[in-house]
Amino acid sequence: MAKKRIITLCGSGIASSTIVAQKVKKACEEKGIDVDVKPIAFRELQGEILHADLIISITPGLKVDNVPVVNGVSFLTGVGEKNVLDEIFKILEEGKK
């Protein structure tokens, strides 16, 4: 499986997206999935989206064509984190890119 590119997205690209990026990168590495995880701010999304296999968002009302979007709030609360990770693994493993 080729290296997967994941964007974690929040309002400023500074706090929540960084926390989520760290957790997702660690979990993917433990699962043996090669990933590049980049935390970005909402306003930076447009330029980054073409290269992404998956967007993990903590931004309300995000609608994107062509790239799957997963809600990342579980990584901040610890509640339901495992289910979201399973969903992420599934998307990455089934992805055609």
Binding site: G11, I58, N71, L76
Partner: protein
């Protein structure tokens, strides 16, 4: 770690009518200490409308208001525990809200240097025992010491 945590930045059992009042109170403390710029408070409140920061942590719900680095001179964390919850928007959601008992106002001014701090912070806010301990504490110096111990070592 270059994130300042001081007992002056901690309010225990604060009574607030709404989230704006708590954020204003904490932001003014950081402003007086020179941690943040004049623009910080307005920017946090504006951001909270578009990107709410309430988190449904169990059993104590919290919020982590913050904004862009350009509004901060240095990095610090200010905390308020509330006698009665105030309502925050749920992070990542347009409609849902959460009734929050603890507010961690984050002032972060250097994106590159915050990764380790944020990693510890995310573990910290998921630790229900220590969050409950902070809620029950009556002593700001004790809360500051818990935070330093968890986040700065």
């Amino acid at each position: 770690m270059d994130v300042k945590i001081d007992e002056k930045f901690v309010l225990n059992n604060y009574e607030a009518k709404n989230k704006e009042e708590v954020i204003m109170k904490l932001a003014n403390i950081l402003l007086q200490e020179g941690v943040v710029k004049d623009s910080f408070l307005r920017s946090v409140l504006e951001r909270e409308k578009r990107f709410p920061t309430g988190l449904p942590t169990e059993p104590v719900k919290i919020a982590i208001p913050h904004t862009d680095a350009e509004h901060c001179n240095s990095s610090a964390i200010a905390v308020a525990t509330l006698t009665e919850p105030v309502r925050f928007g749920l992070m990542g959601d347009d409609k849902e809200t959460v009734d929050v008992r603890i507010i961690f106002l984050l002032a972060l001014n250097k994106k590159e240097e915050q990764a380790i701090f944020l990693s510890k912070f995310s573990q910290f806010i998921c630790d229900s025992k220590v969050i409950e301990e902070i809620l029950l504490a009556n002593d700001s110096s004790y809360v500051a010491s818990i935070l330093k111990d968890r986040l700065c070592n």
